[in-house]
Amino acid sequence: MARAAASLLALALTLVVAPSFGAGESALQFPARDDAIVEHLPTHVGDAAERRAARAAERAQRAALQEHPDELGLALQAARDALARGRLRGDPRELGVAQAALAPWWSRADAPPEVRLVRATVMQSQHLFQAALVELDAVLATPGAALPVRAQAELTRAGVQQVLGRFPEAEAGCRRLAGADYVALGSGVRLNALACIAELSSLQGHADSAAATLARLAGAPDVDSATTAAGVAAPGWLNLMRAELAQRRGDAAAGALFAAALKSSPDVYTQCAYADWLLDQHRAAQVVALFKGNEAADPVLLRVALAYRQLHGRGHPLTREATATLGERYDAALLRGDKSHGREQSRYELELRGDARAALRHARANWAVQHEPADALVLARAAHAAHRDDAAAPLWQFLRETGGRDARLSVGGPAAAPFLQAAAQTVARSAP
C-alpha cells in the first residue's frame, strides 16, 4: 500500500518543482580579498590624523564610561556628544547611545534635570512629543535646576510646541526666555529667544516684519560669538531660519541663505532643507552633488531619489534602486513600530511611487500629530493628487486660525494647481 502511495508520489514528482526555502533572505557574500572595503563607517571630521584622534577620543570616552557608569558628569558628556554626532549625521543610533550612557538614571522618575533634558531631546527626536513635553515641564518645575538647563528646556519646549502648532504657548516660552529671568546667561540666549519670537510671528501672518527682524539679528555685532557647544555657529541656524522663511514667502533670496547656513552648519537637517528648495527650483543635479558619497541617512536618500526622478525619470535604474531601498527602510521602521517617518513617507508614496492614496494616508496621519509648514505642504499636495481636496480642510482651517501663509501652497510646487491658489487667497483674505 505504501508502494501505491509511493508511485503516486513519484508521479507528482515529475509535475512539481522542488520547493524553495529561504525566499526573502538576502544573499550571502564571501569577500575574496582581505583588503576589500566592506563597510564605510560614519566619518569623523578632518584629515586622516584628526579622524583617528576623534575616533580614539570616542573609544576612550566609552571605556571611561564603562569603568565608571555611575559618574553623572561623564555620562552626560557622552550623551551630549552622541546627540551632537546624531544631529550632524542624521543618525538615530546615536539617540540609543545617548540613552545607554544615561542608563543608570534613564527610567528614574527622580532623575536630575540634566538627564531629563537629554531624555526629552531623545523623545522629541523619536517624535514622542507629548512625552517630551512632560519631561520638559518637569525640568522647569524643578526648583534647583541650573539656569542654563532651564533655558534649554524652555527653548526646546517652545520648539516642540511650535511643531505641534501651538503657537501661543511656544511664544510665551520664548518671551520668558527673552525676559529678566535669563538675562544672566548673556546675549546668546537673548538672540535665540528673539529669533524664536520672530519665527513664530512669521508663521502667524507677519512674515515681512519677521524677515526684517531676523535680518537685523543676523547683522548684529555680537552674533558671531553666539556659538553653541557643538560648534554650530549662530549664523548657521539663523540663516537657516531666514532661508526657510524666504522659502515660505517665495523669496528668491532663500537659495543664498541656505548656502550660507550650510557653510557654517553642514548637518543633515540643513542639507535636506536646502535640497528641498533645490528640488522645488528644478535644480536636481545640485542635490545629487550636495550629497555625493554621503547618502546613508533616510532623509538624504529620499532627496537623492527625488533628484534622480527629476533628472532621469521614475523608470531609471538609479531612481528605482533608491526607491526600493527607501521602501525597505520604511518597512523596517514599520516593523519596529517607528511612526516618525510620515512626512517623508508621504512624499515617497506620492512622488516616487505615484500612489496618491497611500501618500494621503501618511500625510493625514502626520498632520494629526505635527503642524510644520512642510507637514502642511505634503498634506495639500497629497490631497490634491488623490482628488480628495476635502482631506486638506483641517490644514486650511489651521492656516485660517493662525494666519499662516506659504507661497509653495499657491505657486511653485510640482502639484500646485489653481485650487491651491484659490485656497491660499482665501486664507490670505481671512488673515488679519
Binding site: V38, T121, T156, Y269, A333
Partner: protein, 438 residues
Amino acid sequence: MIRACALALLLAAAPLAQAHKASDAYLTLRVDGPAVDARIDIALRDLDRDLDLDADADDQLTWKEVRTRWADIAALARRDIHLHADGARCTPDAAPSPDTEADRPALTQHSDGAYAVLRTRWRCAAPVQALSVEYTLFANTDPTHRGIARIARADASANAPEPRLVVLSPGKGWHRFTLPALPVVAPQDAASTTPASAPPAAAAMPATPPSGPVDAVATPPAESAASTLLGFVREGVHHILIGYDHILFLLSLLLPAVWIRSVKLEPRTGLERARWVPASDLRHALTSVLKVVTAFTVAHSITLALSVLDVVDPPSRWVESIIAASVVLAALNNIWPLISEARWKLTFVFGLVHGFGFASALKDAGLAKGALAAPLVGFNVGVEIGQLCIVAAVLPLAWSLRGTRTYRGAFAAGSLAIAAVAALWLVQRAFDLSLIAG
C-alpha cells in the same frame, strides 16, 4: 525648524527632526523538529561600536578587519541571544569554525549597509512548539536597537503559514511565542492542545534569568495520560472538521451513496445508457457508505502510522497536491463515473495520501519521542469521530432528498463546484501560489 534653535553655551541638544535608519538586526529562526537553524544578521556598524572592529581607525572596514574578529562577533551573539523551547534551554552547536562551509564568515547587504551573518544550529530537548528568545543584544550600548525575527517551521508545504514576525526589544529580555501552526490548524487550537499552552501571539515576558521563573511560565502542570489522549482526539476531530479538503473528498464520495447506477437500453438507438437512480433500499446505501468510510479509515490509518513512525516521509507539498487531485477526481467521478459501485477502491487509494496529510498535522501538533501510541490512537479516533459527524449530517438529508430534482441538481452543481475548488487548490499547492484560502 526647531533644531535651528540650538542654544548658545548650552547643550547641542537640538533635535533630529529627521532620521537615519535605526539599528536593526535580522533573525531568521527555522524550526525543524527539535532543532532550530538560526541566521542572525548584525550590522557591521553596530558591531564596530561595541567591538572596535576598525583596527586602523580609518572609518572604513576591510574584510580582514571583520574576518579576523569573527570569533568575537560570534561570542557577542552567543552572550546576548539565547533560545528556550517549551521551558527547556536549547544549546547552540559548537563554536563556529571558520573552516566548515556552514560556519564560514559571511556578509550580506540590507538597506543601510553591510551585515555580518552568523549561522548556528541550536538543539532543543524535544520538537519545538513554543519558542522563547532571550535577546539582550546591544542592551547596554544602544537600547533603541531591535531584533526583527522571522520564525517559521522548516516545512515547505505549498500553503504553509506565513512566518511569524516578531520585534525583539533588548530591554525586555525574554520574548516568547508559539510557532505558526499547520495550514489547516488554527493557531489558537494548536496551542491549546500542545503540551505548553502558550499565548498564541508573541508575548514579551519580563526579564528573568534563563533558568528562573520563565520555566515556570513555559512549563505546564504535569498532564495526565488521559487528558493527553483526549487532547489528541480533539486535535483529530478538529483537523478533519476544519480540513475542507478532507470534507469535500468525503462529501464527493457520499453524495452518490443514496443512488445506484442503472444501465438502461435506449429503445430508439439500441445503445446502453447509464444514469443515477434513487436507491430503494436503505441497506444498500448504508453498505455503500460503510465501505467508503471503512476504506478511508483503513487507508489513512496505514499511512498515518507509517509517517509518524518515520518509515515513509513524503514531502508535504506533494501530499497536499495529491490530496487536492483526489478531491478533483472524486468529484468528477460523480459527473462522469468511471468507478460507480466500487468507489471504496478509489477511496482506499487516495485515503493513503490523506493519511500523510493527517500525519503532518499530527507531527506539528507536537510529538515527544518515545510516546507515539497515545497520539497515534487518539488522533486517529478523533479523525473517525469527525468523519462520522460528517456522515451523520449528510446521509439523512441525502436519503430523504434522493428522489427530488433538487438533489439531482445540487448533486451535479455541487460536484462541479467541488471539482473546481479542488482544481484551484491543486494549482496553488503544486505551484506554490496563493489564489484562494484552503
